[in-house]
């Protein structure tokens, strides 16, 4: 009898706790459900309708949007471009960021100045940064190439030629992200005990060996974070391409996000079809980040 009333009391306590929990989480839950959860879940339904600018709800068309997306050469081209961009960005941005972090850490003075300077582009939107670089690519580089013999290698159609516009996009995107990664690498490097570095130095290890055999294994976790972050951001690349090339020339530099945006909000407004494409993008991103995290976590544990 006593036990039972204790059970009932515990139950009503839980109920009371849950009620107050719901009250406190309600505001967050409402905005989250309406603006994130619902779009994420019902996106899959909309992807199976012919919803467009004309018929407001659209009727159910099954998987035909997905079939169409699989046959859409421009969409695959944009996916391939995104892959190429992601691969190059992950390597370039992380290598440069790590080099900067290590270089700054070797210095005794003026660390703060360099850190401040390298982080600055991250503060500025890629839209503004992109247009500033546009000025460099379309005016400054030509000027340098025309007036100084040593710079004649800069004489290219940086925005108009697909090969060079890819390089231009990478330069601007790396310019805008490296500082952020560098800050994370610097924080991780500062966590490496000085005694370990000194011990390695006494054992006669040179700077190169010290980095790869002492410091790098200790900052593996930061590498995982930074690669994850670049990967996730790079798959969604939009601003920098929108401002620099607009996806051109033709569709040579169109990323998946830009392709989806154009399908939905430019020209022949096909929301249902564009949602199907964005669902495919979502699956690709989730699979790849899951693989990256498992592989890199396992590597971290091996050490």
């Amino acid at each position: 009898m006593k036990q039972r009333s204790a059970q009932i009391a515990a139950k009503s306590k839980t109920r009371k706790q849950n009620f107050s929990l719901l009250l406190f989480t309600l505001p967050a839950l409402i905005v989250y459900a309406v603006f994130k959860l619902y779009p994420a879940v019902f996106g899959i339904y909309y992807a199976m309708t012919d919803w467009n600018g004309i018929n407001k709800t659209g009727s159910f068309v099954g998987l035909s949007n997905f079939v169409r997306a699989f046959q859409d050469a421009y969409f695959w081209q944009s996916i391939l471009f995104t892959f190429k961009y992601v691969a190059v960005m992950v390597v370039v941005a992380n290598v440069i960021a790590l080099m900067l972090a290590v270089a700054i850490e070797t210095r005794k003075h003026a660390r703060g100045v360099f850190r401040t300077v390298f982080y600055l582009p991250n503060m500025i939107s890629m839209v503004i940064g992109g247009y500033m670089w546009m000025f460099i690519f379309t005016k400054v580089l030509y000027y340098l190439a025309d007036n100084y013999n040593g710079f004649s290698f800069l004489d290219h159609m940086w925005i108009g030629d697909p090969n060079y516009s890819f390089i231009a996009i990478i330069i601007v995107a790396a310019w805008g992200t490296v500082g952020y990664l560098m800050i994370i690498y610097m924080a991780a490097l500062q966590g490496v005990p000085v005694s370990m570095k000194e011990a390695a130095e006494l054992d006669g290890a040179n700077a190169w060996q010290r980095f790869w055999q002492v410091e790098f294994p200790m900052i593996r976790h930061a590498v995982t974070i930074c690669v994850f972050w670049t990967l996730n951001g790079a798959f969604q690349v939009f601003d920098v391409i929108y401002t620099l090339t607009g996806g051109g020339p033709g569709r040579a530099t169109q990323s998946a996000a830009l392709n989806i945006y154009e399908e939905a909000f430019r020209g022949n407004i096909q929301y249902g079809y564009a949602t199907a494409k964005s669902t495919l993008l979502l699956i690709i991103v989730l699979v790849i980040t899951a693989i990256q995290l498992t592989v890199m976590r396992r590597r971290e544990e091996e050490l």
Partner: protein, 275 residues
């Protein structure tokens, strides 16, 4: 010893070249923003003939600077205010309640953190149309709250774990309602993580381009970035107007950075390490 000096000199050279490369777009934009289009055409590296603010006056008016700035401030303050209020309440209670429901709710909030914006963009647009908040700045603040609470709740939840709950219990015994306990006792203690969340979210909303691009269509509601983008589209070869517009569009964040650099860099590191 000689080898060591050479190495240090090499590192210095590398850092200085990288710093120049980093600053080049900003400095070139600033330098040329004072020139006429003719001067830009003849020499992009020369100093301006006269230091007049004429270009600035022109772009200031063309991009409706004050209005765009005001709209952006409104979004950042409104969005971040909602994110902080909603997530602190939720994160605290989720951490302090140990029931099945609380762990379910926490995973519900956290699971979607990986979903990229571009893949929910179109259904979200539909929600915005259905709620009739297209073109509404206040509505957009709530959209930002919806997109931002996951990460913020995650950070608040982690932080609350580390603070003792005796104070809260004492307050409850003294007759404080849960809401009073939250605002008087808990929220002040959350200050460090609130600062981190505030900084990362202000920067996110301030520099966000795609969401306002699809939601705001009336140029009276435009953010700084949308106005800059429009100006670029209209005057694509008028570099003296564009560059001066870019400089004043970048100015607020640069000032923000100059004033709060330490907090910003700390906030970024904390946010990244825990996220």
């Amino acid at each position: 010893m000689k080898k060591k000096n050479l190495f240090a000199a090499g590192v210095n050279l590398f850092l200085i070249l990288c710093a120049l490369f980093t600053l080049a777009p900003l400095l070139l934009a600033l330098l040329n923003s004072f020139k006429t289009n003719g001067e830009i055409l003849t020499n992009v590296l020369s100093l301006p003939k006269a230091l007049t603010g004429e270009n600035y006056v022109r772009s200031f008016g063309k991009m409706h600077y004050l209005q765009s700035l005001g709209n952006t401030v409104f979004l950042a303050v409104g969005g971040v205010g909602l994110i902080i209020l909603f997530s602190a309440l939720a994160g605290w209670k989720l951490c302090r309640t140990k029931t099945k429901l609380s762990s379910f709710l926490l995973s519900l909030f956290v699971f979607s953190m990986l979903i990229p914006f571009s893949s929910i963009m179109i259904p979200l647009y539909k929600v915005v149309l259905a709620l009739k908040i297209k073109n509404s700045l206040l509505g957009l603040c709530f959209v930002y709250a919806g997109l931002g609470v996951s990460m913020a709740i995650f950070l608040y939840h982690g932080f609350v774990k580390g603070i003792p709950k005796e104070l809260e219990e004492a307050a409850a015994i003294d007759g404080c309602t849960p809401l009073q306990t939250f605002f008087r006792i808990v929220f002040p203690m959350l200050k460090p993580v609130t600062a981190t969340i505030c900084i990362t979210n202000v920067l996110w909303i301030w520099n966000d381009f795609l969401l306002p691009l699809i939601i705001l269509s009336d140029n009276k509601k435009y953010t700084l970035l949308l106005s800059t983008n429009t100006l670029f589209g209209q005057y694509s070869s008028d570099w003296s107007a564009i560059l001066s517009a870019l400089v004043i569009a970048a100015l607020p964040v640069i000032v923000f950075y100059a004033l709060l650099q330490k907090q910003i860099l700390k906030g970024i590191t904390d946010g990244a390490m825990k996220g």
